[in-house]
């Protein structure tokens, strides 16, 4: 029997990035909030300090910060005709665990989505005609625009202290920034980071081909910065241990550096770590959440009643929690009916390697998680798709994050996988190779979705999440096209040998791509094709808000977190200013 605890105003399922933000906004509004985090408490000191933080084997290869899949794995198949099998070790994406979530060990690449990507269906049909979108794709408009989100992007970036060069402030274009960006209300809080060597070579080459290079917007800070919460971040040291690591220098924006110290001092907030939420509990009418059930580290089960439930446990976990709790109609790929698990999307990645002469010392280890230079000329609808048979796009740039050698020891094609020639090639190329990342959008397809696995269980005997995913043909065509453009820039960089190809199917879970899993609890204007309304409130259970990249109807070209943060602030404002005035009521009539 679960021990029933005292009711609180709100409970957070997960205390990662979104959980920390909502905790802060709701306690500030006077609510008593309990945050339940399945992983351990962890802080910059002592948890993220050197020398132990500089351990490629533990953090990159063995993935010490990631969800323990001996307790909770997921299963995967490419399509409904295959049997999904457990992802027994994480490779292609890395769900985080522990206080601060994946935002502890993210890179900090911080982009706003473009307006045309928020309106992808209506925009595409208007510009290219109704039949242009592949009928397999279930892409849809978000129900918000870039202009709607601008104030929330702005607030989130000033919380993070993001370093970048604005390209468009209130409609005025600024040289050196991204000329394609939608108007922002003010410049980035801090100037762009220093430009590493390979990135500088890329900038010159891209400009020589008529493209528009700009520095990557980075939440590895270029200089000390005090955010509106009164917390001070330091300048990034280009330490080379960023993605998959906590930052020892207080230089990467993460819940620990931007918000948690303030939140944890608030008397209205109670944090419980090592607390695994099993389900959201519903009243008999199935229209009201009564709280959650969780298990602590010692195996004791608790019921935490709450007036308001915030589900913020990362995209994939949000979807699973909805399914485990029986909230919303699960998606059925045969009929196309149902919404929970629908429109699961990812990111379509490829890379180009540029092998330089031995005189060019790239120094790949002098890098940060979000440094470098890129172009947006092939993002979203920034180029004419008329002649092509695809929608969407990719950015690419010289954005290397590290030179840690277990994972980074590039060799040109034709090199054997081992032996004397392999070793010779590793020594020859290690310090003389640049990699261009081609980071592409991912369109929702009727074939790709999330549901509960019929066979495999977690440590609490609950079904694992089942992922059914393969790259839509649309996205493979996009990747081939843009990767070709990146190859041309690589050649203009003066590489002796330039190697790369667009993403090829089938999707595999054996190779890291990104942890940009999206969809499954999509936001929208129509409850037939969405799980939450534009304020991220559940259509079915109005005192439940579901927040994260699971709200994306499909994935845009850029990395997700700036948009996740903006949506979180937008939802928090709607809860505080509107929902709390009439608790239990839907903010949008279905």
């Amino acid at each position: 029997m679960a021990t029933r605890l005292k009711e609180v105003d709100a409970v957070l399922v997960g205390v990662g990035l979104v959980g920390t933000m909502l905790g802060r906004e709701l306690t500030k509004a006077g609510l008593k909030v309990v945050g339940l985090e399945r992983g351990n408490a962890q802080f910059t000191v002592p948890d993220f300090q050197g020398p132990h933080m500089h351990d490629e084997l533990r953090y990159s290869v063995r993935k010490a910060f990631m969800q323990d899949n001996t307790k909770e794995a997921m299963t995967f198949r490419n399509n409904v005709n295959q049997v999904a099998l457990p992802i027994r070790r994480w490779e292609s994406f890395l769900p985080g665990t522990g206080l601060g979530g994946a935002a502890v060990h993210w890179n900090g690449q911080t982009y706003r989505f473009q307006d045309d990507e928020f309106k992808i269906r209506s925009h595409t049909e208007q510009r290219y005609g109704k039949g242009f979108i592949d009928p397999e794709l279930t892409v849809q408009d978000w129900g918000v625009t870039a202009a709607d989100l601008e104030p929330y992007y702005d607030r989130f970036e000033y919380l993070l202290g993001t370093s970048g060069q604005a390209g468009n402030v209130k409609g005025q274009k600024i040289a050196g920034g991204n000329p394609f960006e939608d108007p922002r209300s003010r410049p980035y809080p801090t100037p762009p980071m220093k430009e590493p060597y390979g990135a500088a070579i890329f900038r010159k080459a891209a400009a020589s081909l008529g493209y528009h290079p700009f520095p990557q917007p980075s939440s590895n800070l270029s200089q000390p910065y005090t955010n509106p919460e009164g917390l001070t971040l330091q300048a990034c040291m280009f330490c080379g241990y960023c993605e998959r690591y906590g930052c020892e220098h207080y230089a990467k924006s993460s819940p620990q550096t931007i918000l948690l110290p303030v939140l944890l001092k608030d008397k209205n907030f109670t944090l419980r770590t090592q607390s695994q939420v099993l389900r959201i509990n519903l009243a008999q009418d199935k229209k009201t959440a009564t709280g959650v059930t969780y298990v602590d580290a010692a195996g004791h089960e608790f019921e935490q009643p709450a007036k308001l439930v915030i589900l913020c446990s990362f995209a994939l976990n949000n979807v699973r929690m909805m399914l485990l709790s029986g909230i919303g109609q699960p998606y059925d790929p045969k009929t196309g009916q149902g919404v929970v698990g629908r429109n699961y999307a990812y990111q379509t990645m490829s890379a180009v390697q540029v092998f330089f002469d031995e005189s060019v010392n790239i120094n790949p280890f002098m890098r940060s998680g979000a440094n470098g230079t890129l172009i947006a000329d092939f993002v979203g609808d920034n180029f004419d798709h008329g002649p092509h048979k695809f929608i969407g796009g990719a950015y690419f740039g010289e954005l290397m994050t590290n030179g840690r050698p277990i994972e980074f020891h590039p060799t040109p094609p034709g090199t054997p996988a081992w032996g004397a020639r392999w070793k010779e090639a590793v020594v020859r190329h290690y310090n003389h190779t640049s990699v261009l990342n081609v980071h592409g959008s991912s369109m929702a397809s009727r074939n790709n979705y999330l549901d509960l696995d019929p066979t495999y269980k977690d440590a609490w005997d609950q079904p694992l999440l089942r992922i059914t995913f393969d790259f839509p043909a649309n996205d493979l065509r996009m990747s081939a096209y843009v990767t070709d453009k990146a190859l041309a820039v690589g050649k203009a960089m003066g590489g002796r040998q330039v190697v790369g190809a667009g993403r090829k199917g089938p999707y595999t879970v054996t190779q890291y791509q990104t942890t940009h899993n999206t969809g499954g609890t999509v936001m929208g204007l129509d409850r037939k094709t969405s799980v939450v309304n534009r304020y991220l409130q559940s259509w079915d259970v109005p005192n439940l808000f579901v927040i994260g990249a699971s709200n994306f109807p499909q994935n845009a070209t850029y990395n997700p977190t700036d948009t996740v943060g903006a949506l979180a602030y937008m939802a928090a404002e709607a809860i505080v200013n509107r929902y709390l005035k009439a608790p239990g009521q839907a903010l949008v009539q279905a």
């Binding site: 063995r62 001070t232 280009f238 330490c239 080379g240 207080y250 944890l264 595999t508």
Partner: protein, 267 residues
């Protein structure tokens, strides 16, 4: 290539190490922020450390095989000289070998390549099974052990594992080979604290600075040649601890509500 004896290995390794130490003294000026002088040679694990996991016959195969996968050459030590067998031994004998972070529930199916590892074996079990099958196989076919074969025949045998699907006591040969190669590369490049990469030999060879982690002043000196000796976690004696300058440390995390342990706990 001629087959090296154990003695020649150590002679060669010693010579290379000396050459590398000499090179390591040609340092760039110290980075202003975290300057430290020429670090003494790192204390890595001995290539001869006792094995926790491997039986003698297994150790002979692994020592011989890793020496073919990453050989000693003019660039410097190979996997054997760098202590990679010790690294693999400790990995297999420790938590990782026992299946740490490996989801292990059945049912078991071979699956598709894109579904990743689907065997019921822990890494330690996988090695034990495969190594026994390899020993038996070489014994049966050649009436000897792998380590006694000439180098080119060892290479050919490793290739047959790399590309083969034959069952090594239930382990597909290519799966075993991939595991062996991955562990060899890990041990060669991981911090010496794990028992391989003795004297940071691989880092010196490619020019990786190791646990040293601050390049703010160098990153915009484009093309600069970084020649300072690398640093391992074990010898980082800066012990630089950052103190958050403004905010106080957060209060302790609230404990879970205490539950009186009833005899019949559980759900």
């Amino acid at each position: 290539m001629e087959k090296l004896t154990r003695r020649t290995f150590f002679k060669a390794a010693g010579a290379t190490a000396a050459a590398l130490t000499a090179k390591a003294h040609a340092l760039t000026p110290d980075d202003a922020r975290h300057g430290h002088g020429a670090a003494p040679a790192a204390t890595g694990a001995s290539a001869q450390a006792a094995y926790l996991y491997f039986r003698p016959d297994e150790a002979r195969f692994v020592e011989a095989a890793v020496a073919r996968l990453i050989p000693l050459d003019a660039n410097g030590p190979g996997a054997l000289e760098a202590g990679v067998p010790n690294y693999i031994d400790r990995q297999l004998g420790g938590a990782w070998g026992a299946g740490e972070r490996l989801y292990r529930s059945g049912p078991w199916q071979p699956g598709l390549p894109g579904q990743g590892y689907q065997l019921p074996f822990t890494p330690a079990e996988l090695f034990r099974n495969a190594l026994r099958a390899i020993n038996d196989d070489v014994q049966k076919r050649r009436n000897t052990t792998f380590d006694k074969l000439p180098g080119n025949e060892q290479d050919a045998y490793l290739e047959s594992l790399q590309t083969g699907n034959q069952s090594l006591n239930g382990v597909p040969a290519h799966t075993f080979f991939e595991s062996l190669l991955a562990l060899t590369i890990e041990g060669f490049f991981a911090d010496p604290i794990y028992g391989g990469n003795k004297d940071m030999a691989s880092w010196k060879m490619i020019g990786f600075p190791g646990a040293y982690a601050s390049f703010y002043h160098l990153v915009d000196q484009h093309g600069v040649l970084f020649t300072r000796a690398p640093m391992s976690m074990g010898e980082d004696n800066r012990r630089m601890i950052h103190i958050q300058p403004v905010a106080a440390q957060p209060k302790a995390v609230g404990p879970n509500p205490v539950v009186a342990d009833k005899k019949k706990g559980g759900k």
